[in-house]
């Protein structure tokens, strides 16, 4: 028997969540006033959870490291949010969204959680509209939809290319309302540095006030981690500079299992790297693949000429271009799921067809979309289709309406005009499907410790579909956690305030202080970034888009060496009093290094290819991922066993009742 109990409720898949809600324990309003909850992180999951818990009457303390909760990185999500509303009448349903998500996740997610996600998805849109989120609308005044990779219906709601921003500002406004009436106490510029576990229950956190440097103890009856993903373990990713794994990692060290760390999403449409100074990568929304066609030169000579600047992409005729996604996957074409699109780009570039100076880029071309839209507009305006100048102008207008801000952003970074010349894109680390293991209640293996949003592992399996991260963040925060946490807190109504002078708090605080002193007194010779970059390079080269046994073994050894070097040679200037950004980074990178090792071990253990995890040894003759359902249809949940001791892997066997296990095909 596995030590992991996913606590999936009994009953038919479509009735589980309703039944569950009807049978959980509730906390009466008067008792809620005596219960404290800590939420770490203010992205979509954390902000929505904090707001809702505050509205329900709990005393909420919310923490973020940024200067305002509105800055969390959900803000940067561009494309949209899925919901099974079927407003387009194109055959969408809860079941279809559920099915697409399980399939898109390459059959490595937990069915019951995904079904619940699909069920509440429609509510999210209602909620957001009620909050004043200005979604895109059609001329009739109703909400507009677009389609996204990996699905055949149009179910994505959006607000230009700034959907994450608008949703986050909606959640932030709900949070602000609770802050104003004192139900949520907001701790900006605070970083959680440990979870405090008392008698097997999460009872609080240790946080550092980033402005004064003070170490603070905060107690609560439950702790919710909404601290996001760990893509920055690669140094270069589309995550914000401050995004980090520290909260999840501390939880891991206190007994919360870490699940499937190797499941990383490499997003196919990012702006390529331009040089060594690069500090982060910028995503171009996947929605661009609705209208952009991806290609590389068909002939290597042309690719070479493009790279050395002697040939312009617009001068390459149609018959000398290879629209490789359309060629390989006629059914889905440019809209194949992210993992498939990313690998295909890497395959072409590795084979020598890449463009850009670095050879690590492919084209995303809007020329045909401009013509197609232009012709429709011309017809509407009674202009002859042969008037190419007018058609092009009108087409550009439509494209601008849809993607204007993205095109602008591209031009600012690359200094090229994508209306005139194709964009260049290349895959980059974007999202981590793995994360803290949670059961159906979103509770980790530590009682009273929850993980929501990107921080947990449960809904996206080995690959996340576009526009599903926003959906999950808000589903967890607004509609799932507020129920499930109540069931737990119902048993806490007699506990009373948790004192912060318990020995566990004292000990945790001492560990935090000791570590800070160690950094500051180390007096090594290299700045933190040196180690972060070094780690990132190992991760990208050997634990990135394609992995193999030998490379992974090397990576583990190299990461161990980086860890040793880090602790003996890192230099952190300044003091612990007051703002010290190098000190903040040092703590985060120290945790990333440890995570990197676990990540590689997990990738080594998983001897199959699935979703974002591609093992070169396990592929078909055509280079498609080869899953091994017989041996690997499980969640690998890793348990920390102590410094220098091998972590123990526990399996949660995944059972597929509703969706038949099949090879994913997008052909």
């Amino acid at each position: 028997m596995s030590v992991l109990n996913s606590n999936i409720p009994e009953g038919k898949m479509s009735e589980k969540w309703e039944n569950y809600k009807e049978h959980i324990d509730l906390v009466n309003p008067a008792n809620k006033r005596g219960i404290d909850v800590i939420v770490v992180g203010t992205g979509l999951a954390g902000a929505s959870a904090s707001a809702t818990l505050g509205e329900l009457g709990y005393n909420v303390k919310t923490f973020c490291f940024q200067d305002s909760p509105r800055r969390a990185h959900s803000i940067a999500a561009q494309g949209g949010i899925n919901a099974a509303k079927n407003y387009q009448g194109d055959g969408d349903s809860v079941f279809r969204l559920f099915y697409d998500t399980v399939k898109g996740g390459d059959y490595r997610s937990r069915e019951a959680n995904v079904h619940r996600l699909a069920e509440v998805s429609g509510n999210i849109i209602d909620q957001c509209v009620a909050q004043g989120v200005p979604f895109a609308r059609e001329y009739g005044g109703l909400l507009d939809n677009r389609s996204f990779g990996g699905v055949l219906v149009s179910r994505t709601f959006y607000a230009a290319g700034q959907t994450g921003q608008q949703l986050l500002l909606g959640a932030y406004s709900a949070l602000s309302r609770q802050i104003a009436i004192g139900k949520v106490q907001m701790y900006n510029r605070h970083e959680m540095l440990d979870v405090v576990v008392v008698d097997g229950k999460a009872r609080g956190i240790i946080a550092r006030n980033l402005i004064t440097g003070e170490i603070e103890r905060h107690s609560a009856h439950a702790v919710v981690l909404a601290s996001g993903g760990y893509g920055n373990v690669f140094f270069l990713s589309t995550n914000a500079m401050g995004s980090n794994v520290t909260a999840s990692w501390k939880a891991y060290k206190r007994g919360a299992f870490f699940a499937n760390p190797c499941y990383t999403q490499i997003h196919p449409t990012c702006i390529p790297r331009s040089g060594d100074h690069q500090s982060k990568l910028t995503l171009m929304s996947e929605s661009l693949r609705n209208d952009g066609r991806i290609w590389v030169p068909l002939h290597k000579e042309d690719a070479e000429k493009v790279r050395n600047g002697s040939l312009k992409p617009t001068d390459i005729p149609e018959d000398r271009r290879d629209y490789y996604l359309e060629r390989r996957y006629p059914a889905f074409g440019n809209l194949v799921p992210r993992d498939v699109a990313s690998r295909a780009a890497k395959e072409r570039c590795d084979a020598g067809f890449g463009v850009n100076k670095t050879g690590e880029a492919v084209y995303l071309d809007f020329a045909s979309a401009i013509q197609r839209y232009g012709k429709v507009q011309a017809r509407l305006h009674g202009i002859a289709e042969s008037n190419t100048e007018e058609v092009t102008r009108l087409g550009k207008e439509v494209v601008k309406e849809k993607y204007g801000n993205l095109f602008e952003m591209y031009e600012k970074i690359v200094d090229q005009n994508p209306y005139e010349t194709p964009m260049m894109i290349y895959p980059a680390v974007h999202y981590t499907m793995g994360g803290t293991w949670v059961d159906y209640n979103l509770m980790t293996t530590v009682n009273g410790l929850y993980a929501i949003g990107e921080a947990n592992f449960s809904d996206h399996g080995a690959n996340r579909l576009g526009a599903s991260a926003l959906m999950q963040g808000l589903a967890d925060g607004y509609f799932v956690l507020p129920y499930t946490i109540g069931d737990y807190l119902a048993k806490e109504i007699r506990t009373g305030k948790i004192p912060t002078d318990l020995p566990e708090f004292v000990a945790a605080e001492k560990e935090v202080v000791d570590r800070i002193n160690k950094f500051l007194n180390n007096k090594g010779s290299k700045p933190v970034d040196y180690f972060h970059k070094k780690l990132g390079k190992v991760m990208w080269d050997k634990v990135g888009m394609a992995r193999n046994e030998q490379g992974l073994k090397e990576a583990i050894a190299e990461i161990q060496a980086i860890k040793e070097e880090f602790w003996s040679d890192v230099f952190v200037p300044g003091s612990d009093k007051g703002l010290n950004q190098e000190l903040e980074k040092a703590g985060r990178v120290a945790d990333f290094i440890e995570l990197g090792e676990l990540f590689a071990k997990d990738a080594l253990n998983r001897k199959e290819s699935c979703g974002g995890h591609f093992r070169e040894e396990y592929q078909t003759a055509e280079g498609e991922a080869l899953r091994d359902d017989k041996n690997f249809a499980y969640v690998a949940a890793w348990q920390y066993k102590g410094e220098g001791v091998e972590p123990e892997m526990h399996k949660e066997q995944l059972e597929f009742v509703e969706v038949e296990l099949k090879t994913r095909s997008y052909k």
Binding site: Q66, P69, R71, A76, A130, Q131, S173, S176
Partner: protein
């Protein structure tokens, strides 16, 4: 590129602060402004000195955290860009670049280029929301059609990233552009309209309490706003404020 930098250094709120000169060489014109500061900081750390503290997070122009006053302009030269989106190709080899924090009494300096913009959060807390619970028991999202033009205008106002460049650009350190963007967004939508009057009174009262200056319609805010938030929002808020004040009396 080779550059001379003059950077505001201030060790803490109580320190007086001063400009300090640095020289940098071999900066790629393709690097972003913050990546140029990264290089400076890396060099400072290697010399055992304290790096320049500055706010930043997303580095793609959306979180609103970066905030540098560059050569007398919030977010530096360049139209509609945040500091993190500014690239060194906007400067010339040999340039001297002056970098300061936002200057406004409502945004006290915390350290070097980092300021406290908590006042913006408190203004939103005063009313920048629709008073609806997040229970999910709301009506169907499509039950109230909203004219596309209104939805688009609300969206445009809602794209404000809360960076504070409008305040830094204004000789009066007025926060009108920021406040009016939120007031307008919610006023343009039927869901927000219900509370419009009380909202504008509350948010403006908080704005005054935070010590932001008055608006004298110079338009510097609009010119420097990285998101192109329009002055029309201020006009709309003024009308709404007057109407609300009258009906409140």
């Amino acid at each position: 590129m080779n550059l001379k930098l003059k950077v505001w250094r201030q060790s803490g709120a109580s320190d007086k602060g001063k400009m300090v000169d640095y020289a940098l060489s071999d900066i790629s014109p393709d690097s972003s402004f913050l990546e140029m500061i990264d290089v400076l900081n890396m060099q400072l750390v290697e010399k055992g000195e304290e790096p320049v503290a500055f706010d930043h997070d997303c580095r793609e122009g959306i979180c609103g955290m970066c905030s540098m006053y560059i050569n007398g302009q919030p977010h530096g030269p360049g139209d509609r860009v945040t500091t993190c989106q500014l690239h060194m190709r906007s400067f010339k080899d040999g340039d001297t670049i002056t970098i300061e924090p936002w200057r406004a009494s409502a945004f006290p300096v915390i350290k070097d280029l980092v300021v406290d913009r908590g006042a913006f959060d408190r203004i939103i807390q005063a009313g920048g929301y629709v008073s609806v619970n997040t229970s999910g028991n709301t009506q169907d999202a499509n039950s109230i059609p909203i004219p596309k033009a209104d939805a688009d205008a609300a969206f445009d106002a809602a794209t404000c990233i809360g960076c504070g460049a409008c305040v830094a650009a204004c000789k009066n350190a007025s926060a009108m552009l920021f406040v009016s963007a939120k007031v307008s967004q919610l006023d343009l939508l039927p869901q927000g309209k219900v509370e419009s009057k009380q909202r504008v009174l509350n948010m403006v009262a908080q704005m005054d309490k935070e010590g932001f200056g008055n608006c004298t319609n110079t338009g510097a805010c609009e010119a420097e706003c990285p998101k192109g938030i329009s002055l029309e929002n201020i006009a709309r808020m003024n009308r709404l404020y007057l109407a609300s004040e009258i009906s409140a009396k």
